[in-house]
């Protein structure tokens, strides 16, 4: 029997494409069966709504304002989570102080935070703060797990061979933390988008994707709601890929 010559990467891409195709087919079948674009719009009507959204002059402005807020929330959440994780690793009282409150934040529904903070903040600030609140505990926890998983026997090698602080950081600490940071950032990026959009919808933030979804919902324009959702998914995946690329470069830098 002749062996397959398809590389694993191409095979995986083909499998993903087939998977997406099957899900799109399921979507279309349900939409046709429902036969009601208000309850469940089909693919052509969603794509047509998507085209209309992109053609409007407000598209770039709307997307960029939401994207900037997501980036600020995500970036500040990663930075704060990182700094607090480093402090918690070196100072046990910081960890003891933060652990309970971060557990509470993780367990509290996003909507509760939005409603509580809405009174104090305007829509834009609220969306950023909510994204920050969702991201920070995840990054903190993942980095703490990363620190805890550092191989003690390798730490001993660093002592034995008198590694400088920088060398230890590059060959042991950073590669280990990145291993935990990648899944953390993937989860955090998805959560940042979800919480950001939820905050924009509830707080009716001006010039935002959330505001547009809200308007479409009031107008019973489900294809537009679906189209905006597709845009959010695409942006979230793109941001996730960029974050992974940056982390991969950091990992490569550390091992060079």
């Amino acid at each position: 029997m002749k062996n397959s010559t398809i590389s694993p990467k191409i095979k995986w891409s083909l499998e993903i494409a087939v998977g997406i195709g099957i899900w799109l087919a399921i979507w279309q079948i349900f939409a046709v069966r429902e036969n009601n674009s208000f309850l469940f719009p089909d693919i052509p009507s969603t794509l047509s709504a998507l085209g209309e959204i992109i053609r409007t002059g407000e598209f770039v402005k709307t997307v960029s304002s939401t994207l900037i807020r997501v980036l600020i929330g995500l970036g500040s959440g990663i930075a704060a989570g990182g700094v607090l994780a480093v402090l918690s690793h070196h100072l046990s009282f910081v960890k003891a102080f933060l652990a309970p409150i971060l557990s509470v934040i993780k367990a509290t529904p996003v909507a509760s935070f939005i409603i509580i903070l809405w009174i104090k903040m305007d829509g834009g600030e609220l969306a950023i703060f909510i994204a920050f609140m969702m991201v920070m505990p995840i990054i903190w926890q993942n980095l703490i797990d990363g620190y805890n998983s550092i191989d003690r026997s390798l730490s001993e090698v660093c002592i034995c061979y008198e590694f400088s602080f920088i060398k230890r950081l590059r060959v042991l600490v950073i590669p280990n933390l990145i291993r935990y940071l990648i899944p953390g950032i993937v989860t955090a990026t998805g959560l940042a988008w979800k919480s950001e959009i939820a905050a924009e919808i509830i707080a009716y933030t001006r010039d935002s994707i959330g505001q547009n979804i809200n308007d479409a919902k009031f107008n019973m324009d489900s294809p537009t709601v679906f189209a905006w959702t597709l845009i959010v998914i695409a942006l979230s995946i793109a941001l996730e890929l960029i974050a992974k690329l940056i982390l991969w470069r950091c990992k490569k830098w550390a091992s060079n």
């Binding site: 026997s153 061979y161 060959v171 590669p175 550390a254």
Partner: protein
């Protein structure tokens, strides 16, 4: 300067592992540390290397700055290639002399050019052990401790390792932990035999012996 142990006692898990051991290692040559499993050979090596400071008595001439160690469990950095594990532990990658020395050592230990760039996860157990050995060989320290250096090696590679140990022992003290009598014979090494401390109430010394084994022709 050799290593000197003065009344060294190690208590581990509420049990005396090493009892009032006094011994002076020469400043050059090979001393094999032998004894049954669990008798405290690795513990003693760690104490000499300055990795375990929880003991009674005095150790002179040891400590992190004076000792290079090849651990029994290889302990390689997973994101570094074989050559980088050897070079970076000791120097910077820009140190061309160190890179050349590391390459030379790895070639002598049976590595091929392309294998130098492989990550530890791509190496066999024996290859990882040789990288760990090369890392310790490269470090310039008056004392070299090798924990079961020949355990996973075939005949030819074992001979190469013993050859390098002989060369290194001309410049510094090599303490080799081993279970293999052939290592002792081939290296013409002195032997420190560690045994379980005796149980008699009046005995305050473990039964440690210092003997010379002549090579068998």
């Amino acid at each position: 300067m050799g290593v000197e142990l003065k009344n060294v006692t190690k208590i581990f898990d509420s049990k005396i592992r090493i009892n009032s051991l006094s011994f002076t290692f020469p400043d050059k040559g090979v001393v094999c540390l032998i004894g049954d499993s669990g008798v405290g050979k690795t513990t003693l090596a760690r104490m000499i290397a300055g990795l375990d400071n929880d003991y009674l008595g005095e150790i002179y001439g040891g400590g992190i700055e004076n000792v290079s160690v090849a651990f029994q469990e290889h302990r390689l950095f997973p994101t570094l290639s074989a050559i980088d594990n050897v070079v970076l532990a000791n120097y910077s990658r820009k140190n061309t002399e160190a890179v050349r020395d590391a390459q030379g050592l790895l070639f002598r230990l049976g590595f091929k050019e392309f294998e130098l760039k492989l990550l530890p996860s791509q190496l066999s157990g024996g290859m990882r052990q040789r990288v760990s050995l090369a890392r310790a060989f490269l470090r310039k320290a008056p004392v070299l401790i090798l924990d079961e250096a020949t355990k996973e090696l075939d005949y030819k590679l074992r001979s190469n390792v013993l050859e390098i140990i002989k060369e290194q022992s001309k410049e510094r003290l090599v303490i080799l932990i081993t279970h293999d009598a052939n290592d002792i014979i081939e290296l013409s090494a002195k032997v420190l035999l560690l045994t379980e401390p005796k149980r008699r109430a009046d005995d305050n010394c473990s039964e440690q012996k210092f003997i010379n084994i002549k090579p068998i022709k």
